[in-house]
Symmetry: C2
């Protein structure tokens, strides 16, 4: 299997609403990544997006971005795993380079949630026959999971507040973050509006627009003059049953655990080797459970890492180092590509005031549905 | 790059409407393919489907099929290229095996079009900003293309009738075909209802339900006792501009031509080596233009191959040998997987009365949109 390198990245600021259309947002980062990578053509373009079927009436989004970016006749496919679609597209790019069928692959993630009602479409990540008819939405299912977690481990209601505080703190110096202008205390989190008990506004990532792109290349093509060649050390995925009640251990994100274990194995690394963790913090609960699933805390203890500042930039396991989904923003299909952009900043020493000193190995996780589809990538200096 | 073999296939009869749900249809072929391949676990499940977002309110269909098939915690992704999605999923399976990241990959294509109005959602394969606001649908754009073709080459109105006649003739002995009970003459085609001039009912593939699956494996795992090991000799994709007026040569399906050329090159074969062609005959026009694009006829001459019976089972280039999209049916996300099932039947001498004598190399093409996304695979005896 050939090694897979990250040759270039591009991101635009996450915003509540762009005037640019979906295709224009996607093309802007596609073209920027090609320019940054000094490449005019790629062998394939893999696109991730979750909501264009409903919000833009568009079911052919990979070819559309190819057309708008002037990349026709390039191979162009869309890859999906609900909210983990960005990582799914990254994984397919990884396979294309690893197989030898491609030398340069461009991954573009784009989402324009401001074009219509997004929440209803996001609920389609659940089981539409067995969950949605009962009125379930993503938020209701995460609320159920959160309640069960707090009750089972007999935790205080504010146990998870520090995840959001940390994310907003880290977004402060990220010019691409939606919320780089507001900091919060744990008390602020607990006094924010209740969305669905026990979830509050400041526990949730925002609805927003964004786009990010990553250019992958093979070892043969990576520029030797780059001071820090960044490589995808491993790529893995696992799934879990949809309904919490169908899961043997509903308080364990089994797919997060299993995909992390696969990724560690592939990279011959363990959680102790990880310098930072770009976690899928769409909800505070998911950060907590992901820390436990990826081996950083035992069951019921993930929240302590936040409460004890161990997830800060100088902590044991820095989390959401540029703001995460919570504060950088979560334009669904683009999110994992933003994570890659930020990891590359960290690994190449370009994270500015947010730099994790000596960062060499980054863990990145993306979750589709309520822990149903989870992709784990480990990215490191080669 | 590792060689990629087809270890097993499974299909169910295409029907106008199944009582089984989307997930049940998908799981039925998934389980059947695993049984046929004598495999209990796979490394990945790649699913293709086009319309579940709207028709089943489901945006997480790969994990859903994994859940329903008892395959959790398997890697499960959905791959899309509009109506060519089945071939897109096949291609990703090909990359996963070729890369060495997977030894067994299951590809499932499933579509249940009977659950709601499909035609409106199919139109989302067009450019939703630049074509749909003008009232364009798939049918209107193919009608425009057909009119332009007939006019440019000064052909009679019935020039394309024999494609449909051939497809229905070949479906006669296919127990999985939707229309295996009705034969038509060229005159029947021309007297069928006008859908949108110059397209008539018998020029169009039907709206229907179906599912098919293909189990891929590496050379290390292919059973040596199989008399005919079937290998994917090449896999390629190309795209074209969405709008006909943006294309330099609108009467040439450039993406079909370029993906075919890539596939021929990869396999070190030419059109003269192809024993049968499973073409994307969603409309008679597409069969004709695909024959020209894949090197079997010069521009304006594709229709002659049909009119002169050269596309029959004993002709120069047998087309749609088990009924094609036209008569076997076109359950969108499943279609390319049905094509693979049929090709395996042909290459292993199991095509019954439809057997193409000595078939060793099959060409397979899938088209998304009006020639926008085209995948070409060449499948042959190893």
């Amino acid at each position: 299997m050939r090694s897979v390198y990250i040759a270039a990245t591009a991101q635009i600021p996450v915003k509540k609403s762009y005037e640019l259309s979906l295709r224009e947002l996607g093309a802007s980062v596609a073209i920027a990544a090609l320019e940054q990578g000094n490449v005019e053509e790629v062998d394939a373009l893999y696109v991730s997006n979750m909501l264009s079927d409903e919000l833009q009436c568009q079911k052919h989004v990979a070819a559309l971005i190819a057309d708008e970016s002037g990349l026709i006749p390039v191979e162009a496919l869309q890859v999906r795993a609900a909210m983990a679609s960005g990582a799914a597209a990254l994984r397919i790019g990884f396979l294309a380079i690893a197989s030898g069928q491609a030398d340069h692959v461009l991954i573009v993630g784009v989402e324009k949630m401001s074009d219509g009602p997004a929440t209803q479409s996001l609920a389609k990540a659940l089981d539409s026959e067995k969950e949605m008819p009962d009125g379930a939405t993503m938020i209701s299912q995460v609320a159920t999971l959160t309640r069960a977690y707090l009750d089972h481990f007999q935790l205080p209601e504010d146990a998870l507040s520090c995840f959001s505080v940390n994310a907003h703190e880290n977004a402060k110096h990220n010019p691409f973050a939606l919320f780089n202008d507001r900091q919060f205390s744990p008390a602020d989190v607990m006094s924010s509006r209740v969305i669905m008990p026990p979830i509050r506004l400041l526990d949730c990532a925002p609805i927003c627009d964004g786009a990010a792109a990553v250019l992958l290349t093979s070892a043969d093509n990576i520029r030797r003059d780059v001071p820090y060649p960044v490589r995808i050390l491993s790529s893995a995925m696992a799934t879990d049953r949809f309904r919490l009640k169908d899961r043997a251990e509903p308080l364990t994100l089994m797919a997060a655990k299993q995909s992390a274990e696969k990724a560690y194995r592939q990279a011959a690394l363990g959680s102790e080797d990880v310098d930072l963790f770009e976690v899928h913090d769409a909800f505070s609960t998911m950060s907590c459970l992901a820390l436990e699933a990826a081996g950083f805390a035992s069951p019921g203890q993930g929240w302590r890492l936040a409460a004890e500042s161990q997830i800060a930039l100088d902590g044991r396991i820095p989390l959401s180092t540029m703001g995460g989904l919570k504060a950088r923003g979560h334009p669904i299909g683009a999110t994992a590509l933003y994570q890659v952009c930020e990891i590359v900043q960290q690994l190449t020493g370009q994270a500015g005031p947010n730099q994790v000193p000596g960062a060499e190995v980054a863990l990145m996780q993306s979750i589709g549905g309520v822990g149903t589809s989870v992709l784990t990538h480990i990215i490191g200096l080669s």
